[in-house]
Symmetry: C2
Subunit: 126 residues, 2 copies
Amino acid sequence: MSSSLDLWGDKWSLLIIRDLMYAKSCTYSDFLKSEEKIATNILASRLETLDETGIISKSEHPDSKSKVLYKLTQKGIDLLPVLMEIYLWGEKYFQLSEQHKAFLEEVKKDKEGFIKATRAKLLSSI
Amino acid sequence: MSSSLDLWGDKWSLLIIRDLMYAKSCTYSDFLKSEEKIATNILASRLETLDETGIISKSEHPDSKSKVLYKLTQKGIDLLPVLMEIYLWGEKYFQLSEQHKAFLEEVKKDKEGFIKATRAKLLSSI
DNA sequence: GAATATTACTTGCAAAATGCAAGTTGATTT
DNA sequence: AAATCAACTTGCATTTTGCAAGTAATATTC
């Protein structure tokens, strides 16, 4: 557990991973757009270590040479169950937006199924 | 997710919570005995914030006035599924001891059942 | 095609968090 | 009564974070 947390167990790494679960792929500036407002140097350092540890990978953007696409690897996609349990815990102990509530209601109807489907979708876009 | 991580999403907090999942209750010096070697000031500060946010609670030790017992609250016990998914991820990507491997094999046979039983055990000792 | 804007970063620096060693206080054992 | 134990606290050096500004390469606009 300690070793796992050393790889991705800090707030910013997990938020990066979360963004990638939603978006399938993000550019550097996409990450900067999320509401948590990560500092640019921290973002760069987290992307570097997540890449080094094989949780995300860098690839070329089809449209432009100056853009970089970040994606989850299988190792990163396998964190989906962890993220889902974090969400479900948060649902119990925080006031969520209607949007999030509706989403989690859907998930709870068939958690295994949701994870399997999302996992397949993410794996297909690697 | 960000709010959840603000409460318990750092390495030391999660290791404290893990110790309490195994042990049901720990004293300050019990935490110091775990292999990860947390510094005493960090331990004190984490115990304080986990107590403030209602994830653990302090109680009197039956044997001695000078000892303090720390336990998970329901809010803390509800993190069990998160911890289990962290373990299961780690199983896939790290070399574990035979002991841990055997434990996780057991868990995987009936994850829901294991969580339910462990949860009940922990709740009973609150 | 030169000027402007965008993208993905890097750098410098102040503030906060961490880690280590040592110290303190009250209860307990010898 | 003296020594030990349990739960911390304190001081300080090191590391990490966060903010603002800068840079270099590509892309777009005039």
